[in-house]
């Protein structure tokens, strides 16, 4: 189990994990769509030139080629920005991968507002909803470098096709090697007034900030890092809902088809509780840095704390 402190960006943890897999598994191959230098898959290309293919700016073909490679017993990883990795090749992922029972691991970088300077055209908010429509796809969004590394290995071991929302630039460390398990969310704080379920770096960081603000106001919050979106950790969610009776779901994406709707749908069936949501609503993305975008979209500790407080006092 590698310590992710050897990496200095999230993308290095991803490529490091895939290269560690490639060393053990000769069937691992990597395809990129002209974003190799953005994700650092150039390192994979250097180490395994016969197992790396740059498909150019042709995501649909990349997904189809990956499906064909999978049918030959190879295990392809394909990368593009999340908006293109989900939308430009969606029918290919649905039919040639999902419907055809092939295993392809899709890496979609720069989820939601982390696309920053690439702006609204590059800001995937709907990608979770899209992958949720394809039976069998595992969906992850790690919130630190260690869980990113560990989940990449576990998703490979799991064997189902997958989509990872990958933070690309920057790094933080939250977990110890081996601490995070695929499909099992992590309770980062334990309180019984309100449960805040968050996915991804931006939202988990903001939720932890909110927990402090709430604590100062005498509101005790449970904070859950839902790094695996599918399969949903229903056990942990039901436990938190039963304990708090109030659930706030925070995601760097859309409600429709997203994490909040998924959890609401589950709880509606087993234990309806009062819920609230932090997400992008009906907005498209826009250009800017995180300092501008996070408050503009309400993805801050303060906004989450306000929503949680309102929910807790209802």
């Amino acid at each position: 189990m590698k310590d992710a402190h050897v990496f200095s960006h999230y993308k290095e943890a991803l490529i490091g994990a895939v290269m560690d897999l490639a060393e053990k598994h000769p069937e691992v191959v990597f395809l990129d769509a002209d974003l190799s230098s953005c994700i650092g898959s150039t390192a994979f290309q250097k180490a395994y030139p016969e197992r790396f293919y740059n498909c150019g700016i042709a995501e649909a073909n990349m997904a189809g080629v990956a499906a064909g490679l999978s049918s030959m017993g190879l295990v392809p990883y394909i990368h593009s920005f999340g908006c293109f990795a989900s939308r430009r090749d969606y029918d290919q992922l649905f039919i040639s991968v999902g419907y055809a029972h092939q295993t392809v691991h899709v890496i979609g970088s720069d989820p939601g507002i982390t696309a920053q300077y690439n702006g609204g055209t590059h800001m995937p908010f709907e990608d979770i909803a899209l992958f949720r429509q394809i039976p069998g796809f595992v969906i992850t969004e790690p919130s630190d470098a260690q869980s990113l590394y560990d989940l990449t290995l576990q998703v490979h071991e799991n064997g189902a096709p997958s989509y990872m929302r990958l933070p690309r630039k920057g790094i933080n460390f939250r977990y110890k090697p081996g601490e995070v398990k695929l499909g099992k969310g992590v309770e980062l704080a334990d309180g019984d007034d309100v449960a805040i379920i968050a996915t991804g770096v931006v939202m988990v960081d903001a939720a932890l900030g909110a927990e402090k603000i709430l604590r100062e106001k005498g509101i005790k919050a449970t904070i859950i890092d839902l790094h695996t979106i599918r399969p949903l950790d229903t056990e942990l969610i039901e436990k938190a809902a039963a304990k708090c009776g109030r659930v706030l779901v925070c995601e760097n994406g859309r409600y429709a088809g997203g994490v909040g709707e998924m959890i609401a749908g589950h709880l509606a069936a087993v234990n309806p509780v009062r819920m609230a949501f932090v997400n992008v609503g009906e907005r498209f993305g826009e250009v800017g840095n995180l300092k501008y975008l996070a408050p503009a979209f309400g993805f801050t500790a303060e906004n989450i704390a306000d929503k949680a407080e309102e929910l807790a006092r209802k």
Binding site: V29, E50, R51, Y53, C55, G56, A58, A60, N61, A63, G64, V65, A66, A67, G68, L69, S70, S71, M72, G73, L74, D91, Q92, I95, S96, Y99, A100, H101
Partner: protein
């Protein structure tokens, strides 16, 4: 090819055509046009060319065929059944609930189907991936794939064509079923399939142009292509949609047709007469 071999192939094509017509008639309707136009090619591939084993359809080092124009499933199934991949009786279950023979080729359902088709353009990319996979795994096997001329209107075809050319996949043999028709009518009236041989050459492919109903030309094209290293191979086949299902020949609306059991037997009789059988 000697005369005996030629007769064997012609017999196979005739039997496959009869089975395909009866198969579609057992359901009552189906994609007759694009099934019948590739029967010579299917017969050649399965009876003379491809290294496949009906008793072990998943054999790893086999040659593979991706019928990207997946709606030709009925002809593919008739061919596979004739080679023993599954019982001939399955053919009468086409498109029935619970069948293993769906309208469009499906690798998860039918023994001998190497990749799923149906969403046009996709099988072609998969074929490129399969050919690439054979290379990565250092196999000497070939990948064959069949696309339609209507299908070549899909942008994905040209993304895949570019990639196969760039990667010099000389183990990839593609066939274009240039029958001049698509669901809504003639390609010339919709989006014409202009300059197909030149298009493929300019994408870095070795190109051959043949009559797709002529076994000797199919053989010559494949054998010539095998002698050309470093380029993927495109064999442009001039064909007739519905060729051999005489009621569908030369008409516009022959993509999918209603066929009763009586019509099927009449059509088979007419075909036998035309072929002197």
């Amino acid at each position: 090819m000697d005369k005996t071999e030629m007769e064997k192939l012609k017999d196979a094509a005739f039997r496959i055509r009869c089975s395909t017509i009866r198969e579609i008639a057992s359901f009552g309707s189906g994609h007759i046009g694009g099934s019948m136009s590739i029967v010579e090619l299917l017969s050649y591939l399965y009876y003379r060319e491809m290294n496949v084993d009906h008793s072990n359809p998943g054999k790893e080092d086999r040659d593979r065929l991706v019928v990207s124009k997946g709606h030709s499933g009925p002809a593919v199934y008739a061919t596979l059944a004739s080679k023993g991949f599954f019982p001939e009786e399955w053919l009468s279950t086409l498109n029935q609930g619970g069948t293993r023979l769906p309208s469009h080729c499906d690798m998860t359902k039918t023994p001998g189907i190497d990749f799923t088709g149906g969403s046009l353009g996709q099988g072609f990319s998969a074929a490129v991936g399969i050919a690439l996979g054979q290379r990565i795994r250092k196999m000497s096997a070939h990948t064959f794939t069949i696309i339609g001329d209507g299908e070549a209107q899909e942008g994905q075809i040209w993304e895949a064509a570019e990639a196969a050319g760039a990667w010099k996949l000389d183990n990839l043999f593609a066939f274009l079923d240039l029958n001049g028709q698509q669901l809504d009518g003639y390609t010339k009236d919709i989006i014409p399939s202009v300059h197909m041989p030149d298009r493929w050459s300019s994408f870095g492919w070795d190109v051959h142009v043949i009559d797709g109903h002529d076994f000797e030309q199919i053989e010559a094209a494949i054998e010539d292509a095998k002698r050309i290293p470093g380029l993927p191979h495109m064999i442009v086949m001039h064909t007739k949609k519905s060729f051999g299902y005489i009621p569908g020949e030369g008409i516009k609306a022959n993509h999918s047709m209603t066929i009763t059991k009586e019509q099927a037997e009449e059509a088979i009789k007419a075909l036998a007469e035309r072929e002197g059988r």
